[in-house]
Symmetry: C2
Subunit: 334 residues, 2 copies
């Protein structure tokens, strides 16, 4: 059976779809906190998506996508492709809906992400990321075998809408606090699912995606006006959650209309942001989840009085996090 | 001028007072999240007070106390006594209300707590805890000099009521989630301010205080039916927030009526709880803040379907937290 992409190409993500997703998400997930943080005399608002039950915003898109499947589609199961956070989102939603889930994950994913995905009842199928194996190929084969629906991590209209519910919540929380809706949202960006969703959810805000050094395909795509892939010799990055080779057209259409530019955060800036989130917000944030805060702390964004920053995930191994906490001095050198 | 305790002895903490405190707190602080955690097949509800702006529930009592001061009292300032979390709570409330605050803190308090208290604009007065200096004596002297009001960390009716608002929130959050009000609340216990407040807030729940090994004055007081002090040779503990020599009568009156017993958590149980909160909840919890979860994970409490556990604070130094994350193997030996 061929890859079931037909329905994906028929359905376009919209602001109305984000509103529907936000209502569905609100039925099962309490809002994550929006925590104030003082940065150079201003208060910025940090959306702690690390506190979702799976430790990342990915649960939103997965829930919106899986609840949109027909009964026949649910019976055939789903296949996800993910470095870990989307994996756990799909596994969580699938378990809750009684849907069989297979997740294609890289062999070098953080142990905590592999363990948590399995603990949620999903079957993990490993692929050789360091060796360059094409994960979409693996997923396509699995879907072909079983007739399962592919739930792409970012190139999917429901996923985009679901992630956008993060923005709906931020706006509601800032309005209720008397601050007013955000006019600037800085967000970690991997494939562009969350970024595109935020853009749909918040039509009046500037949306700034932040990528890790070397994995700046969205930055370069925005500059070029067309999709660019990361360099084949992209360096290793601690930001496994943002390690995507290229955005997809469904995402880029939205990004190029709404994001004038993207920003890059360096490894030491990201570690500094993780340490600040530890000390000032008492949050465990994974490297990729700290990319937007890193760019803000490094002074790469001109802040406004209504700035929101997404802390997108908190799944990181204890040993890796301990090293980040212990290594502030070495960071002045890179 | 003598210590201003007259009004304290006139005012008794009540459930109605907790309700007032909860309304006052709700006006300025968003609810902290109540996060589900699976423990041996059951879901328990973890109240993440570590996510308060000062990293601990202490902000509640401080706000309730300081807003109850008269204009004349506000003008004379306040003096707090604290290992760090109450310090930050008082400093936060004082800054917001424009009240001068002096905080008596031990020289061996975690650096992060000293730095954060100073950053909130309070004057820190150090006392020699390791050398056995009496902190209440130091506070009394400061109050005598300036006519300032002593804001005791736990032996104060407004502080008790304010901390009790934690329980009001837990009950509201569990009711809204369809679970129903908690019938069991397990909480870290230092001097007994939070524990007494929870007891007032939740008259139908069992309240179980948990203390660190060697600092089990409340456990022993409950057993004896009268206040007992910790042993003069109490061992060092990582739980600086729970390191109180004895509870006060205003707390113990409530505790002895509502807590049949207390529990003790060992250092390795507490580190295990910190690691679990890191991996499963993505929270930074300080040792004292993890004591209740430690007792639960060690199987020392018979869980119900409506169990809440307070994670009371998250102020811990990076180096100390890194050591906790890296040391799981050594913990099997102590």
């Amino acid at each position: 059976m061929a890859l079931r992409m037909s329905q994906i190409s028929d359905y376009r993500p919209t602001a109305q779809g984000v509103a529907v997703a936000a209502r569905k998400v609100a039925e099962i997930l309490p809002r994550t906190p929006l925590l104030p943080l003082e940065v150079e005399g201003r208060t910025i608002w940090c959306k702690a998506e690390s506190l979702q039950p799976v430790g990342a915003f990915k649960i939103r898109g997965a829930w919106h996508r899986l609840t949109a499947l027909t009964d026949a589609e649910r019976a055939r199961g789903v296949v996800g492709v993910s470095s870990g956070n989307h994996a756990q989102g799909v596994a969580w939603a699938a378990r809750r809906l009684g849907i069989a889930a297979k997740i294609v994950m890289p062999v070098d994913a953080p142990a905590v992400k592999l363990a948590n995905t399995r603990a949620l009842g999903a079957e993990v199928v490993l692929y050789d990321r360091p060796g360059g194996e094409d994960r979409d190929e693996v997923a396509r084969r699995l879907c072909g075998e079983s007739g399962a629906t592919l739930v792409h991590a970012y190139g999917d209209p429901w996923i985009i809408e679901g992630q956008g519910s993060t923005g709906t919540e931020i706006a509601a929380q800032m309005e209720e606090s008397g601050i007013g809706a955000p006019d600037l949202v800085v967000t970690p960006c991997g494939g562009g699912g969350l970024t595109a969703g935020l853009a749909l959810a918040l039509p009046d805000a500037a949306i700034v995606p932040v990528e890790p050094e070397g994995w700046d395909d969205v930055c370069r795509s925005l500059e070029a006006g067309e999709i660019r892939r990361v360099s084949p010799d992209a360096p290793p990055t601690a930001c496994d959650a943002l390690q995507t080779p290229a955005t997809w057209p469904i995402n880029f259409e939205i990004l190029k209309a709404r994001c004038p530019f993207g920003l890059i955060a360096t490894p030491s800036e990201i570690r500094a942001a993780q340490r600040l989130a530890f000390a000032k917000l008492r949050l465990v944030i994974e490297p990729g989840g700290a990319a937007a805060l890193a760019a803000v702390l490094a002074g790469k964004v001109e802040l406004t009085d209504r700035t929101a920053v997404v802390l997108s995930g908190g799944n990181t191994d204890a040993e890796a996090f301990a090293k980040v906490l212990l290594a502030p001095s070495q960071d002045s050198f890179n």
